[in-house]
């Protein structure tokens, strides 16, 4: 599904990812953990193609294609979805109109027929239930006046509607109470299948209890410094990151 090799990337001339290598197989769920500022969001944004991030060197292959040469919207249409750490508010752009335009752009790209308003609403209602979002939200501006938790649930709602092949969740769990967390996990688990891959960026093991990952990686100072199974997450939760940083330092 996704093959990242020796990726160096940064922002405003500052190198943040310093040779990151990661392989995500089809149908796998990977968790990425790591201290603040280690480059987790940078990785997510580089994968989604956010303009201000610069790739210095390295390759990212997604389903056999060179992901880095595709414009942002093409990546999305090809099935890459980023649930953002800080979803932006866009007053004046109606939520439901926006999502219908997005879904139809994706469907058109896949060679599927576009949905009309009725068909779309039916699909949207079904997915809304999954994330327990009230329909009233849909007629508002995109994320306009949403609480933090509502914004995160809206990300998962969009993900459920767009049905991506590779979902990247950047701290979608941060700041959520346990109910919201369960809903987010529910949304991700619904997507989970042998055809879908998920990359979960998180600081906490909480989410991973609902969303059992196949692999856990530690990202520190722009590199994956340790990988393991789900038990690594528990270890990190108990011991923090220092022991890993020490391990890495000792190995140099």
């Amino acid at each position: 599904m996704l093959d990242i090799k020796d990726l160096h990337a940064g922002i405003d001339g500052k190198e943040i990812l310093k040779g990151l290598t990661l392989h995500v197989g089809t149908g796998e769920v990977h968790a990425i953990m790591g201290p603040n500022g280690s480059g987790k969001s940078t990785l997510a944004n580089v994968l989604a193609g956010r303009p201000k991030y610069e790739v210095i060197s390295g390759t990212v292959t997604y389903q056999g294609k060179d992901l880095l040469t595709l414009p942002t919207e093409e990546r999305s249409r090809e099935g890459v979805f980023l649930a953002m750490q800080y979803p932006v508010e866009i007053p004046g752009v109606n939520n439901i109109y926006f999502l219908k335009a997005a879904l139809n752009a994706v469907r058109k790209h896949r060679g599927e027929e576009e949905l009309d308003a009725m068909e779309f609403l039916q699909l949207a209602r079904e997915k809304m239930k999954l994330v327990e979002l009230d329909e009233a939200f849909m007629s508002r501006g995109v994320n306009e006046g949403f609480s933090g938790g509502e914004k995160k649930r809206n990300e998962i709602f969009q993900m459920a509607v767009l049905d991506p092949k590779l979902a990247i969740l950047d701290e979608t769990d941060s700041g959520l109470d346990i109910d919201a967390l369960r809903i987010v996990a529910q949304g991700v688990n619904a997507l989970r299948s042998e055809k879908h891959s998920v990359l979960v960026i998180t600081h906490y093991q909480r989410l991973l209890r609902y969303l059992v990952p196949d692999f856990v990686h530690v990202l520190a100072d722009g590199r994956i410094v340790k990988s393991g199974g789900k038990e690594l997450a528990e270890e990190l939760e108990q011991k923090g990151y220092e022991w890993i940083e020490e391990e890495v330092a000792a190995a140099r």
Binding site: P51, K52, S76, I90, G92, L162
Partner: protein, 442 residues
């Protein structure tokens, strides 16, 4: 038929253009206005009020009146049959009159200005509010106008739907023509009315329109000005609103077309407790130049005014918002808010924003402000990251910026036409659609 048709009118020094049989008062006003225009001359950029807009290109041309249809074309209304009544003018002369049905109501009178000059209210109000003493372009119109719409609504009458004043212009046989349209709307005590003015056309021409609106005590007046003139056209328009006690006026301006546009909207809140909402949206590209100039004069106490103008400027467009709010010494307990927001889509587009407050008493609540910004990159990325193409994402954000004003428009066909035109006018689609509301002229 008037003697002035098909004749060139040099605009360096003008003569009044009388209409056969016009009343003495109108004759007199015309002559005075012509004198004032000749004394004032064309506005120049040396005047503070005109410092951003030069009319040199306009003043150096000789324009003529002509009511033949623009080259081989017929006029069709952009709103079809949706208006309750419609007067259509081609090059400032009456072309079609679809007001007879509305006129069956005893409280409604919608006629061409030429036919209204003998009425009592016409005599009482005509040229009382639009100031031809000080304003050269109003003087020019007052001296030269040939026709327009006269709308008189009797006290207590509620007019269902909207009344459409439609102005189509275009050159005849390549000869530059001018439209000097003059309208007068008198809404009686406690009446209610919605009037939509549209301006469009093809090729080079010069429109100089003046509309006076009188909102009687407690009257509710909604006025729309939809300006989508040809990109080769000059458009100068003045809407002068006079509000009596407890009247409620909404003025909305949509400016999309025109090469050089001066859009003056002025209101005097002359009676206690009057309220005014004045909104405008201008969307410009290419080399368009649109100068919005508004004056809200709080004369009486306890009046409210809210003003919001939004501009979207792309390519080499130049926009101006010059809005003045005056609070007179007697206008205590005034509540006034003025806002101008602008979105620049290119590095070469220019906006000058000049909101101003002039307060002559202490007992008021007023504020004003203006902003100039670019498209939000974060929002753009967000939309694109969901599969929406870069161009569509941009269009969505531009529309979102304008939607606040568009969506408040109460007349469905105006709202939809404005929304449609906004989408058409947006970057990327512009070249093919410039300057046309609908296929108005075939």
């Amino acid at each position: 038929m008037s003697s002035v048709l098909d004749r060139e009118i040099p605009l360096s020094a003008i003569e009044p253009e009388h209409i056969d049989g016009e009343p003495e008062r109108v004759r007199h006003i015309r002559s005075q206005a012509a004198e004032r225009f000749n004394a004032l001359g064309w506005p120049t950029t040396r005047l503070e009020e005109w410092k951003y807009t030069s009319l040199a290109a306009l003043a150096s041309n000789d324009w003529k009146f002509d009511r033949k249809l623009p080259n081989d074309r017929t006029g069709t209304s952009p709103f079809g049959e949706k208006a309750a009544a419609e007067l259509m003018f081609v090059n400032g002369m009456l072309y079609a009159n679809r007001a007879s049905l509305a006129n069956e109501h005893p409280g409604i009178r919608i006629v061409p200005m030429r036919e209204a000059m003998d009425s009592e209210l016409f005599a009482q109000h005509f040229a009382r509010y639009a100031d031809y003493e000080k304003h050269a372009m109003t003087a020019l119109n007052t001296a030269l106008w040939q026709d327009g719409a006269y709308i008189e609504i009797a006290p207590g009458t509620v007019v269902e739907g909207f009344i459409h004043i439609c102005s189509i212009s275009g050159p005849v046989k390549e000869h530059p023509v001018m439209t000097q349209l003059r309208n007068l709307i008198v809404a009686g005590r406690g009446s209610q009315i919605t009037v939509v003015e549209t301006f469009f056309g093809a090729g080079p021409y010069f429109t100089n329109a003046v509309t006076e609106i009188v909102a009687g005590e407690g009257a509710v007046v909604d006025h729309y000005k939809y300006e989508n003139e040809s990109l080769d056209a000059f458009h100068i328009g003045t809407v002068q609103i006079h509000q009596e006690r407890s009247s409620n006026v909404t003025s909305r301006t949509i400016a999309l077309g025109g090469g050089l546009v001066r859009n003056e909207i002025n209101a005097a809140l002359a009676g206690e407790g009057a309220s005014l909402s004045m909104e405008g949206i201008f969307v410009l590209s290419g080399r368009q130049h649109v100068d919005n100039h508004t004056v809200i004069d709080h004369v009486a106490p306890h009046c409210d005014s809210v003003e919001l103008f939004k501009g979207v400027l792309d390519e080499n467009a130049r926009g101006i918002f010059d809005g003045r709010i005056i609070v007179e010494p007697d206008a205590v307990k005034t509540n006034s808010r003025q806002t101008n927001k602008n979105l620049l889509l290119s590095e070469t587009a220019v906006i000058d924003s000049k909101p101003s407050l002039e307060i002559h008493n202490d007992d008021v609540k007023c504020n004003h402000g203006s902003t100039i910004g670019q498209l939000d990159e974060e929002a753009l990325f967000y939309l694109r990251s969901r599969g929406i193409g870069a161009e569509e994402a941009r269009n969505l954000l531009v529309y979102a910026f304008a939607s606040e004003i568009v969506e408040r428009m109460k007349v469905p066909v105006v709202r939809e036409t404005a929304a449609g035109a906004l989408f058409l006018r947006m970057p990327g689609r512009m070249a093919e659609k410039l300057g046309r509301t609908e296929e108005v002229i075939n």
